[in-house]
């Protein structure tokens, strides 16, 4: 995974990792509950050692997909190949896959030690080996001294660690994590994210995490699969997903975005001159995949929009192709690190601009009803089919 910003249209083929057989291959998998298609023709390859996130709103099918990987649901169609072997119909206890459950599902009648040893005993490991492995796991998740406690004598964070140790103890080929951090408070969640990533790298294991939290997915995962209404709508690295979303829905789901519906377009060399209702004429970089006659929108992230009191006078400003929009500040939202301004354009439309608060004193801040110019370059715009 490179950090280079890919071209807007360089999204095809990213669901096929290059080189070698994938550890997990999901082929055209579908699951229906009654007439509801929970998972609808999903195909996905996951390499060994990858940290993959399934991201989507609730009810999008990501948990159902994960449950099919664990074996709690059988797919109605398609194949699930683990190391080349179809496991779609195998029962949970027959799969070399372990899962960390959303509410941890720790056995309340067993101690921390017995919870972690549960899977090892089922695997028929010797007593001495089990003791060694359990001690190793307890050290790994830093739970020394709590071995004899029952789950309800532990804090939320400690429980989360037991669940992780229990799921890792069998050294599964694939670890599934169902919203593993949802029950933790924000600070603990952030530090645990770092620990999970560190652990995954150190153990060289393959993780698939399900989350509805896009920041969590972007922070931890090498690649993110976005799901909506049972379909996998885009698979990409965090940066590509954010900067080159494949559709309007993805652009709006991942982060904030300003969207301008296109009404007309005109080619001008490598640029596209687009007429919009709210923002007038915009100059955007031409996407390599032609938009044809279909309807499309011009999208731009709030932090790509610069604000100034007068028009841009920088070098970039002298370039004819800069986009500038005149308006007044309609709303100010101070968030600490950044401030989000809503600018009411002369055309009536609203534009959201996010400005980093890089100085402590607010000499650069704008006030309500102040006239500003919002400007951005053609390369910061993304063309999205409607």
């Amino acid at each position: 995974m490179t950090d280079e910003l890919p071209k807007t249209d360089a999204v095809a083929g990213d669901s096929q990792p290059t080189g070698g057989e994938p550890l997990l291959r999901i082929e055209n998998v579908a699951k229906r509950f009654g007439t509801f298609r929970a998972v609808d023709g999903v195909s996905l390859d996951i390499k060994a050692g990858e940290f993959f996130a399934l991201l989507g709103p609730s009810g999008c099918g990501k948990t159902t997909l994960l449950r099919m990987l664990a074996g709690f649901e059988a797919p109605d169609e398609g194949r699930i190949l683990l190391g080349g072997k179809d496991i779609a119909q195998a029962l949970p206890h027959e799969r070399p896959i372990n899962m960390m459950f959303q509410n941890y599902a720790l056995f309340p009648h067993l101690s921390v030690r017995d919870n972690i040893a549960f899977g090892l005993k089922r695997a028929g490991m010797g007593r001495a080996d089990i003791a060694t492995r359990v001690a190793e796991m307890i050290a790994l998740v830093k739970l020394e001294g709590l071995e004899k406690r029952k789950p309800d004598q532990l804090s939320g964070g400690q429980r989360q660690r037991v669940a992780l140790a229990r799921a890792l103890a069998r050294r599964p080929q694939l670890l599934l994590l169902d919203e593993p951090l949802a029950a933790l408070d924000k600070k603990l969640r952030e530090s645990t994210q770092g620990e999970l990533m560190e652990l995954q790298r150190r153990l060289g294991m393959t993780f698939i995490i399900v989350t509805h939290d896009q920041e969590e997915a972007m922070t931890m995962a090498d690649r993110i699969g976005v799901m909506n209404a049972g379909k996998l709508v885009q698979v990409a690295g965090p940066r590509e997903l954010y900067e080159a979303p494949r559709s309007r829905w993805i652009a709006e789901f991942v982060g904030d975005i300003n969207l301008f519906d296109a009404e007309s377009k005109l080619r001008d060399g490598h640029r596209l001159v687009v007429g919009t209702r709210d923002a007038g004429t915009l100059v955007v970089a031409e996407p390599r995949q032609p938009v044809g006659e279909s309807r499309f929108s011009v999208a731009i992230r709030p932090e790509k929009i610069k604000l100034s009191r007068r028009g841009p006078v920088s070098e970039a400003g002298r370039e004819a192709a800069i986009n500038r929009l005149d308006g007044v500040i309609a709303d100010i939202c101070y968030l600490g690190g950044t401030t989000t301004y809503k600018v009411k354009l002369d055309s009536g439309g609203l534009v959201q601009a996010s400005v980093a608060n890089s100085a402590r004193l607010d000499v650069d801040a704008y006030s309500l009803n102040q006239h500003v110019v919002a400007w951005f370059t053609p390369d910061d715009c993304v063309v999205l089919p409607s």
Binding site: L91, A105, R170
Partner: protein, 303 residues
């Protein structure tokens, strides 16, 4: 506590209400029974002596106290009839409770795994027999089990037996009656614990490599133990003292303690012996209760 303070603090009054209830409806009657158990039978009204007469003065009451004895309890231990009745009651109660657990557990488990709206229906189906009088339901079983009853007719029609089987007045009939009558008391507490168990726990056990039978024995069953305990107690205790079902469905060659009590009270008119038998029964039944309470307290302390 003065009357004014009681009215000022209704919550505190509510807290002592159960104790008032216990004293009025348990301890006082228990005192009467205990006193009768220490008396001697007599052809009189009431049929025992001494009788406490509070109007007869202090010396008479002292004399009455002196006349109390534990002879009846000696009789209970020396006469085989009573010892066998206790033993039979315990054996019947243990066997019937085991049968109830074996039959009730799968039903409760199945109910707890039904879709939510069907669980309510199943619950009503379990409770519905209570809407008919208990006695009528037992008489219905007599009809079903008698010589030309429904059961024999079905068995004959299916050619499973050549001639009618004798069901009535056998232990089999009694067990059928007991299991049938007490099944809801076993199912309901089991269902309550199984229904509130997090389904993810069973999934986690499967995920960690346990085949379904291990999932049951290592996770489901241990976690349902509070329900098992409650169900077992709810069935075992009343079955030990059961009178109607063995009297109507079982044979008359061996009696349960409830039947023996009835005989002593109404046929032999020996209230003192019947009372002492009742006291011994109470003590026998207190043991499992105390044991269960100890277990529960230990579980609470572990938390």
């Amino acid at each position: 506590m003065s009357a004014r303070r009681i009215f000022a603090r209704p919550a505190r009054f509510a807290a002592i209400a159960p104790y008032v209830w216990m004293v009025l409806f348990f301890l006082v009657p228990f005192g009467f029974v205990l006193k009768i158990s220490l008396s001697q039978t007599a052809i009189a009204q009431p049929p025992y002596e001494p009788v406490f007469d509070l109007t007869a003065g202090w010396t008479a009451i002292r004399a009455a106290f002196a006349a109390l004895s534990i002879d009846n309890f000696r009789l209970l231990t020396s006469d085989d009839l009573y010892v066998f009745a206790y033993l039979r009651s315990l054996i019947v109660a243990v066997t019937a409770t085991a049968l109830l657990l074996l039959i009730g557990y799968p039903i409760a488990y199945g109910m707890a795994r039904l879709p939510k709206r069907w669980q309510a229906v199943a619950m009503v189906l379990v409770i519905v027999p209570f809407w008919t009088s208990f006695l009528i339901r037992i008489y219905a079983w007599i009809n079903i089990l008698q010589h030309d009853g429904l059961l024999n007719q079905i068995l004959l029609a299916l050619n499973l037996v050549g001639e009618p089987v004798v069901w009535l007045s056998t232990d089999t009939a009694m067990y059928i009656g007991i299991v049938y009558s007490y099944l809801p008391f076993m199912i309901l507490p089991l269902y309550a614990t199984l229904a509130k168990m997090e389904p993810a726990l069973e999934e986690a056990a499967g995920d960690l490599g346990a085949p379904p039978w291990q999932v049951f024995w290592l996770v489901t069953f241990p976690l349902s133990l509070p329900g098992v305990g409650a169900g077992v107690l709810l069935c075992f205790i009343p079955i030990v003292g059961e009178f109607v079902i063995p009297d109507l469905l079982a044979g008359s060659n061996s009696l349960m303690i409830g039947q023996t009590l009835w005989l002593e009270f109404f046929t032999n008119k020996d209230w003192p012996v019947a009372s002492s038998a009742a006291i011994v029964l109470l003590v026998v039944l207190l043991l499992p209760l105390l044991l269960y309470e100890r277990l529960q307290r230990r579980q609470l302390e572990e938390r």
